[in-house]
Symmetry: C2
Subunit: 387 residues, 2 copies
């Protein structure tokens, strides 16, 4: 009888479980791991030894005594492995080398300069190559936040209009190019995962991140699970009509949320008000915030209308999901509290008061690398089952 | 050592698992149950014997031979137990005695006649007493579909404006009155559960039932689980604004879905067109359908606007949930295909085309007892773990 073959799955599971416990609760003693995992002391000892042999776990000193001698504490070595996160939805292509905590070690950015289709794909390869070349540790894999409709399960970008990609099997192509495991999701879905794990969304039964920039979309986490849509489309509020009969959107409809509050729409509306618009539209919200603070009425109205359009979309989220926490991420965060005030006012007018009262609106706390950090969550959850 | 105490939970679990398998797949042989349950033949035999002793399962003849002698087939006895379903959201209070298949054995209806508060509660007691008196089998419990905001977990009606109920612990009160287990949920949530299990929604990863009548709301089932909202408010689209600046709604806002397509709003709009409105508003949609078929342009416009308002709300569902199947239930079903055509046209204009293309709109198949059948699902799932 082959006892080792019998025991192998149990050992693997024990290691995975312990690694996750140490990741979540470390520094932690072996005795506390025995209690938390419900495993025997020898199993915990063996698994801890093998995790230390792999360099994933290190001893980091002594904990307080609980009667006998002080226990040695274990912690995940955050820099034992590295991974690559990519954000393709940010205007230019941005990427970062990150550690096991989703902390950025170094960055690369490649200017898109209007490239589309195969040329845009070649830029993704260049970005990944540049980051892989800088890795000092074994790479776990690549996580990608892609714009537009994505089918995460198949690793396919269904439709990213600005990049001219249709049904592009990006995960498979990038795996062939790099030899690494590749995982892909919508950028807004990754932002929601990041905020759920690293930001203010932890323990919320229903949490939404509305990611703003050139495109607008949202990611929804219900009971700890991403509402990705089957096969796609969960949280795709960018093309929900919020101003019937409004401006024509790239999707072919009029008055979509994106056609009011996307960066291009914001620039158009600012120009109509006679404001100077910077070449890099990402800088526009900060300029608007400055003018708003200076008391310029036209800018105040622009910010107000932007918040109200978001509030109309937020009403849909609240009406469908019930009480939830809604966080704004991305470029429009620069508009600050006046944006939130307008959003809250319109939400209160457009959805059922008792449900609005148990809902909440704010900005994300996961920071401006939120999509990259979400890409890290994706890799860590799939490869290491850490999350 | 007390072996029977040790084995009791396993026996209970085996019985429950088998009862569910026989419910779902019966008539079924013991051999097929062994395969399906992954239990040993003696365990299956013992559990089947105890289910038969309880009268829950009966032998119903012989199956085809698979080599040896023909196997005896087992089936759940649908009339072994009875339960009470109550629909408080239908204008008057309706209830039914039902069997284990959610089939109606007999009905009772009590006219509400404007009663509210404690008086309305007394009518619920009377309805339950009348049904309980007619039961010929042991009663499993009572399932209630309540209007307005409900907290199913606590059995509380948070706010039912038309009944003047606020934070009413209806499940607890009715349990004290009847001595039976009582489970409560929003009527639209029950309609969604019924359609998911008995209607067209089976196996849909994302399914919505929009229940129409005096009030408007929806129930959403994602991956087989009801999106109830925490603590409430899932699918509460009746007070989503679909016509900004429209008529004043009972909720205090203007242009809510309910203020356009609820039965009272429909009656108001019909009167404005000079149509005769029946005293029982439930009959209005059928009258409108008749006039629409006769080619009356004003009625056609009324039906069209009703469908379009539903389509605007459906766009919110699609934008939040991604591709989904949306079924209309309740009074407005009488408006037929012209309603669906208008709904689909507006949905197509208000949500992202690729997501609309993977979505679907239709009428429920679970029939007009859909809330009562949902109440049966609630009781069967909680008491018997059958669903």
């Amino acid at each position: 009888m082959n006892a080792s073959a019998e025991r192998l799955p149990v050992r693997q599971t024990a290691s995975q479980l312990l690694l996750r416990l140490i990741y979540d609760r470390g520094p932690i003693s072996r005795a506390d791991l025995v209690r938390a995992a419900g495993l025997t002391a020898p199993t915990v000892s063996d698994a801890a030894a093998s995790l230390m042999a792999e360099g994933l776990v290190v001893e980091v000193g002594l904990g307080p005594s609980t009667g006998g001698k002080r226990p040695t504490l274990l912690q995940v070595a955050p820099d034992a492995r590295q991974l690559i996160g990519i954000d393709l939805a940010h205007g230019n292509f941005r990427g970062a080398l990150m550690n096991l905590r989703g902390e950025v070690i170094c960055r690369e950015e490649i200017l898109l300069e209007g490239h589309r289709g195969v040329e845009a794909l070649a830029l993704v390869y260049r970005l990944v190559d540049a980051l892989a070349a800088r890795a000092q540790r074994p790479l776990l894999g690549i996580g990608i936040g892609a714009p537009g409709l994505t089918e995460a399960a198949r690793g396919v970008v269904n439709a990213a209009v600005n990049l001219g990609w249709n049904d592009l099997p990006l995960a498979e192509l990038l795996h062939e190019h790099s030899g690494l495991p590749v995982f892909l999701s919508n950028d807004c879905h990754l932002a929601a995962l990041a905020e759920h794990l690293y930001g203010a969304g932890k323990d919320s039964p229903a949490m939404v991140v509305i990611n703003t920039g050139y495109g607008i979309g949202s990611g929804i986490v219900l009971g700890g699970q991403l509402l990705a849509g089957v096969p796609f489309g969960g949280g795709e509020i960018g093309h929900l009509v919020v101003a019937a009969g409004g401006e024509l959107c790239s999707c072919g409809h009029r008055g979509c949320l994106e056609s009011v509050v996307g960066l291009r729409a914001l620039a158009r509306r600012a120009q109509e008000l006679g404001l100077d618009v910077p070449a890099q539209l990402e800088g526009l919200p900060a300029l608007l915030a400055e003018r708003q603070q200076q008391g310029d009425p036209a800018t105040q109205q622009l910010v107000n209308e932007t918040g109200r359009a978001l509030g109309t979309a937020a009403a849909s989220l609240v009406a469908v999901l019930g009480g939830c926490r809604i966080f704004i991420a991305g470029s429009l965060m620069a508009l600050g509290d006046p944006l939130l005030a307008a959003l809250r006012a319109e939400l209160a007018l457009h959805a059922f008061t008792p449900v609005v009262e148990i809902s909440e609106v704010g900005f994300v706390q996961a920071g401006e690398d939120i999509v990259l950090r979400g890409a890290a969550v994706l890799v860590l959850s799939r490869v290491m089952r850490l999350l």
